[in-house]
């Protein structure tokens, strides 16, 4: 047997992967100094390893997320522009109304001023919860809504708990207008600032199967369930799976 060939491919792989113990490694090193062919085999193994690493340094991002980011950027850009326009419009409207109807202005009473200022008190955010609904069972969907209400009610005095409900898989039924038994409850909770997310991935899957997905107007579908959950968990929201 050639000296160069005394090492199997598996041994050379183990060598480049750092899996050999010190003695075995020394033996390979010593032999590779004597044998150009062995040295070349080792170089090839290393080169292959580096090629694989190099080929996957940058992998294409999921298209869906890229599109979503663009949409979000577009959305926020438009929102900001609309807000500025609205502020300009409101300012112009306010002053022009004062100018046009000056003789009809009635001074506000103290109580009216108090009632207006009381609305603008800053809201103190309490705990934050994200509820994850995966079941389409009636009882479990109800449990999710009941839990959302309990979490709102559990806020400390002077605080408001934030609650989001994310529905995917069978749980999407909660937010599908044609199948949910709880449209009114969802609306009521949404009016109390609970935010509902219908998983965009689940919707895609259903649509691929030819199912027409008609969501409640309260349901936001701009995230996948997991994206939303991971995002919120990173921000230290409490995750509750129903």
């Amino acid at each position: 047997m050639d000296k160069d060939n005394q090492f199997s491919e598996e041994q050379l792989n183990a060598f480049v992967d750092g899996e050999l113990d010190a003695d075995e490694k020394s033996r390979v090193f010593n032999e590779s100094q004597r044998s150009q062919e062995l040295d070349q085999r080792l170089c090839q193994q290393r080169k292959l390893k580096e090629l694989v690493k190099h080929a996957y340094v940058d992998v294409p991002a999921p298209m869906q997320r890229q599109d979503l980011r663009k949409l979000q950027q577009g959305f926020w850009g438009k929102t900001m522009a609309a807000s500025i326009l609205l502020m300009i419009g409101a300012t112009i409207g306010f002053y022009s109304q004062q100018y046009i109807g000056q003789q009809h202005i009635v001074p506000a009473t103290g109580s009216e001023i108090a009632s207006v200022t009381s609305v603008s008190h800053p809201v103190v955010t309490g705990h934050k919860y994200i509820l994850h609904v995966v079941s389409g069972q009636r009882e479990e969907m109800f449990e999710a809504l009941e839990k959302a209400q309990q979490l709102l009610d559990a806020a400390a005095p002077g605080q408001v708990n934030e609650v989001e409900v994310v529905a995917n898989e069978q749980g999407l039924n909660l937010l599908r207008s044609d199948v949910t038994p709880y449209a009114d409850e969802v609306q009521l909770l949404q009016e109390n600032n609970v935010v509902f997310y219908a998983c965009s991935r689940t919707i895609e899957r259903l649509e691929e199967k030819g199912v027409e997905v008609d969501l409640l107007p309260e349901a936001d579908q701009s995230f996948t369930a997991l994206d939303r959950i991971v995002l919120r968990m990173k921000d230290d929201w409490e995750y509750i799976k129903i």
Binding site: S8, N13, E24, V52, Y56, A61
Partner: protein, 193 residues
Amino acid sequence: MVGDTIFGLHQRRTFKKMVGNSRARLYRMAYTWTHDPYLADDMVQQTLCKALNNQKQLRDMAAADAWLFRILANCLKDHYRAKREVLLGDDQVRVEYVTPETQTQEQQIVDTVRLAVSRLPLAQCQVITLVDLEGFTYARVAETLEIPVGTVMSRLCRGRAALRDALLDTKSQLPTEQAGTITRIRQIRENNG
């Protein structure tokens, strides 16, 4: 309860952080196994979903990586099984990497490697990418894919031989694979106690 003790508040926070931080790595791995960004993203979502739902199964945070990648591998296996897109025998190949129509010169080498990797049977591809991209030891790969260390080594060997044939023009200079017994490979020795 043991589970409660191990999975206390600190562990829950660590777990959440770990899951969030692992997403990019899981996606890269899923992409190398599928070469399909949509499918890869889908698999990662399923993986994270399962991880979040079964977090109490993880008793040792040190094993979290292997646990997460094992879930990913199982998700992909289930996907292929359900779709019947490929058979899951060790020597079955998958859907090939599609080379972009427009290629820069720099991109060509990347595409050539990806094409070669995509032509490997999934079992070999998984072993190679876990070792080369994630830097997993053979023992950890074995734990992740739930196969013996010896199988990891033989798959790695066959996979790299195929890549070498596809990517390096050196067939004539390479000796054939030998049946040498590896007696002193650290991981095997550790496994044998």
